[in-house]
Amino acid sequence: METLEQIRDRVAARFPAAEVAILPNPSPAAQSSLVLGVRHAREIAAFLRDDPVLRLDYCSNATGVDWPDKEIAETVQTRISTADGAGERMVDQKVKRLQPGCLEAVYHLYSVSRRHGPVVLRMRTGNRTDRVTLPSLTPVWRSCEFQEREIYDLFGIVFDGHPDLRRILMWDAFRDHPMRKDYVEPDDYEWEPTPHDAVLAKAGRHRPTASPEAPTAGS
């Protein structure tokens, strides 16, 4: 199979306006991924499927990943003027930067006819609250149908162009998206008083020989 760089270059040559970047994977698996811009993602997916060399006709796995907002502490060198006003010097300064979070959809593609793979595609939403729409790849690979419904259900990514986007594992009236990192379980714990005292007292009344040490509550 072509390397990911070759695939990236060919995609960039075919779709000059599209954003395609490689996200390296430092683990020994070395399965790096292509990060696609939202606007041309479906055309690029169809290109990868129909390209005679790649022919990635099989989308094995589609899933979501939640990346919450992250505070990053950085050391930045800044230039300040010295106290006597004569010159400037460099000072290390600790800066806290907020890296905005996003939701990510990940697709693992293989080729059944060419017997190669995987090529990993990723798409990212604008943020985690109101810009959570991504283009659906179900028109390209039918196997995304249920898996994108699952991503919508558990992560809350809305797939534009999906034929039947409903919840699939949780029930329809459920409100939240449980696989998000900041999901809080609803506080639906119900304490139910169990009438042990009454039961034990009744049992004591039915003893064949009523004795003073008949079981009482709490014994």
Binding site: N25, P26, A29, Y58, S60, T63, R142, S143, I168
Partner: protein, 409 residues
């Protein structure tokens, strides 16, 4: 012998029909009481929506099909599931890598050994661990035993769905029990085996276990011959399954259908050959594939695969070397793989089972994803059932081979 067969014969030797034989006239229409609305006649012709399940014996668990019927013909089918959903993936992210291993047993509870292997393989890819040869052989032996067990049960359940009540299923369960005994002797548990570890297997096989496995493998072809003699050429089975639920190869690939379902559709795609994971390239076996992609092919593929599994088992049990079963460098406690991600997949009995893991360097996976084969294989259930009857939908679902523990996760 019924009395009305004793009517005098007519001149041509054929018994004349009894004159008393008649159908009761239909009861007068009562507009006040409860009545059954006719599904389709010249006045109505409308559709009926039937909810099959979740508590229905033919749905193999708590699975629901909302079926829209035109007469008895299915015109729409929507699968509804999630009744067993416990957010397995969230649990996996809340526990350490090792603690997820017993949970994977509960995904597809027929195939705990292959679930374990798929998860172990993904973690080994993520952390770059190696597996000693004896453990690789044990994994192949256990995976093929699991395949035998799963396909045997599936054939039994499929016949049960066809209406062959009891006997084939009990024959299948008799053989399954022998394999479960082997699993129990090895791992201490019949179904929830929790046997594989990252970098090997939990324990070595006890004394005499390999001989017992050899005896099971040697006896299996005899059972297959017996089972096939009853089922494969059976006219009723053929009439019920041939041409029912045809799956075209192009749709199967696009819909991500894997495993025996895909091969029955005529696509010879087996990860044991394609990926060559584990020690599978060392074994001599063939990949059967079908032509029509109908329910009969899906049954037949599994029978043929079982024969190949027996061949793999015999080679593996002959060649299994001595040695350790755990990589000495593998650390089970305090296991923290370096940041990165990995997708590992194996050919489970139901199809491609994959695990996608993202590590952020901590003791728990940042993302833990299960690619469940029967979940994805359900995508084309509606396509297979359209135009068939409810009774066909039952056996089509049976031939897809779902386990709800894995579908719902």
């Amino acid at each position: 012998m019924r009395a009305d067969l004793n009517v005098p014969a007519a001149g041509n030797g054929i018994a004349a029909p009894p004159e008393a034989f008649s159908v009761d006239p239909p009861a007068p229409f009562d507009s006040t009481g409860p009545r059954i609305r006719p599904v389709r006649d010249e006045f109505h012709g409308d559709l009926l929506e039937v909810s099959m399940g979740p508590h229905h014996p033919s749905t193999h668990g708590v699975f629901r099909m909302v079926v829209t019927l035109d007469g008895e013909t299915i015109v729409k089918l929507k699968p509804v599931f999630g009744y067993l959903h416990r957010n397995h993936e969230k649990l996996g992210e809340a526990t350490t890598y090792l603690s997820s291993m017993p949970y994977t047993d509960r995904l597809d509870y027929f195939c705990a050994m292959t679930n374990n292997w798929a998860y172990a393989l993904a973690v080994e890819k993520l952390a770059g661990l190696s597996v000693p040869p004896r453990a690789e052989y044990l994994r192949v032996i256990l995976a093929e035993l699991t395949r035998l067990l799963n396909h045997t049960c599936l054939a039994g359940f499929l016949l049960q769905d066809c209406g062959a009540s009891g006997t084939p299923l009990m024959y299948a369960f008799r053989e399954r029990e022998k394999i479960l005994d082997l699993f129990e002797a090895l791992s201490g548990s019949r179904m929830m085996c929790n046997f594989q570890r990252f970098g090997g297997c939990r324990v070595d096989a006890p004394t005499g276990w390999l001989d017992a496995a050899r005896r099971v493998a040697e006896g299996y072809p005899r059972f297959l011959d017996e089972f096939e003699g009853l089922i494969t050429g059976n006219e009723i089975v053929m009439a019920r399954t041939q041409g029912v639920g045809r799956l075209p190869a192009a749709l199967a690939i696009s819909a991500g259908v894997t495993g025996p379902m895909l091969r029955a559709a005529g696509v010879a795609y087996d990860l044991r050959k394609v990926d060559g994971y584990g020690y599978y390239p060392r074994f001599d076996f063939r990949v059967p594939f079908g032509g029509d992609g109908d329910t009969y092919d899906r049954y037949m593929i599994r029978i043929l695969e079982m024969r190949e599994s027996v061949a793999i088992l015999q080679q593996a049990l002959r060649d299994v070397p001595a040695g350790p079963v755990m990589d000495p460098k593998a650390r089970l406690r305090g296991f923290r793989p370096k940041p990165g991600e990995a997708y590992g997949r194996i050919e489970g009995p139901k199809g491609e089972i994959g695990f996608y893991l993202i590590s952020d360097g901590g003791p728990n996976p940042y993302r833990y994803r299960v690619r469940a084969p029967s979940f994805v294989n359900l995508t084309i259930l509606e396509d297979l059932c359209l135009g068939h009857t409810v009774a066909d939908a039952v056996i089509i679902l049976g031939s897809i081979d779902i386990v709800l523990g894995e579908v719902d996760r």
